[in-house]
């Protein structure tokens, strides 16, 4: 099974750049689960985000994310895990889980 681990956090924590210690933790996390991590990235803050919708064939482009929320999507990992318990185990080890939250979503597989 493939799961996307979406890391939500208050991005204010990152306003003054990434903390060295935490970055090192992400490095260690990546090493620990190297065989299961299929991909992943940190995202630039929502102030750089643009939202696009198409309604009645017309494109509507707006600044920022669609809705104001307390926590913002700040990064993700794509992992391979045997089942949800294993995916949850990996998610719990993401350093960001201690500050924000990690949403664990199974990938849709089209036969």
């Amino acid at each position: 099974m493939k799961y996307l681990l979406l890391i939500y956090d208050t991005e204010k924590r990152w306003e003054k750049g990434y903390e060295k210690l935490e970055l090192a933790e992400y490095g260690a996390f990546g090493k620990e689960f190297a065989t299961q991590i299929l991909g992943g990235n940190a995202l630039k803050p929502t102030s750089t985000a643009t939202t696009v919708r198409v309604r009645d064939g017309k494109r509507i482009t707006t600044d920022g994310p669609f809705a104001e929320t307390k926590e913002q999507l700040g990064g993700y990992y794509l992992v391979e895990a045997a089942d949800l318990d294993e995916a949850l185990g990996i998610a719990a080890k993401i350093p960001g889980a201690r500050y924000g939250s990690v949403e664990v979503r199974p990938l849709m597989i089209f036969a």
Binding site: M1, A82, D83, L84, D85, G89, P106
Partner: protein
Amino acid sequence: MIDLDRLCRAEWGHLLSSLIRAFGDFDIAEEALQEAFSAAVVAWSPVPPNNPLAWLYGTARHRAIDRIRQRARSQTLLAELAPFDERHLQSTDGDDAVPDERLRLIFTCCHPALAEEARVALTLRTLGGLTTEEIAHAFLVPASTMAQRLVRAKSKIREAAIPYAIPEAADLPERVSAVMAVLYLIFNEGYAAAQGKELLRQALSSEAIELTRLLRALLYARLGSVPAEVDSLLALMLLHDARRAARVAPDGDLVLLEEQDRARWDRAEIQEGCTLLRAVLERARPGTYALEAAIAAVHAESPSAEATDWAEIAGLYARLLELHPSPVVALNRAVAVAMADGCDAGLALIDQLEPALHGYHLWHAARADLLRRLKRRSEAIISYQRARALAHNASELRFLARRLAELGAPVS
């Protein structure tokens, strides 16, 4: 003649757990088992098989395989079926033919990734063998709503790959706690203020007790020991359940603990609960269930309401409050302190809780009761009226109206 309904209730979880293990699919297992029970009605008349369990399992297994074949993409599906354990498809006689996989089933049904109400429904349906209609009645929702809830839960198990497995040792304490929380929720739903549906509610409490016994037995068989909190939970349920007959008056009203006829308490349940609890207290620091059970035990072992050791109860609530800080626990402690040290001491503690509990009818009711005992009549009336404005339960409303009438206040 075998009572099929009873057999279904008793063996549903065992058979289902084994079929899910064999076929890796909740729906196929459930439908096949239902068909096997339907087939038994005809096939077992007049002579039932020597081993009814093995017959049901064998029949359900064949139905499941048929069902899989019938599906259009049967070939690919058969290949996809995992874990499809061939071992389960061979032997057909003896009870060993039906492996007991209920411990897996418990952990899957009570998985924290499922919504709480879904965990409750799924546990009652799959392990307890209650029908969807029975569960819907007990929770006062339409059967279609309950059916939807079960469908969604099973769909999440499948789509998110919630495992059908006993958690690893490191996760076990947390997951056992999650199971206990579901069982306690079921028990409380059955124990909460009764109106009309008393029989169904009683069935829920009994079911919760039976499931807790089952969890104990399965954990013991698997681990060779049972976490103290599981024993404590069983003790707690038994000690509360023991008062069931005495806590509802013939007119359906709740009878306060101090006014209950203690002769009607179930002595066998009290004894079993107290024995369990004593064993727990000898081997472990009491957790929240143990402390709650201990409080129930003090009441259960007290010969009369007047003889209740309120200082002991206040002390137990104080320890509970340390483990589980909550304004409702603090309110219970305040009431116990009032009984042990006098109404003034209790009232002072209750008043401190106003910010957290001013919207809670039982806070006003408890406060009113102490004011009444202190003969502060007009203040008591105001508090009873506030409690009445916030209460919903019919039985509680009648109780509050009665108290107001006793104080000579107009009851509209």
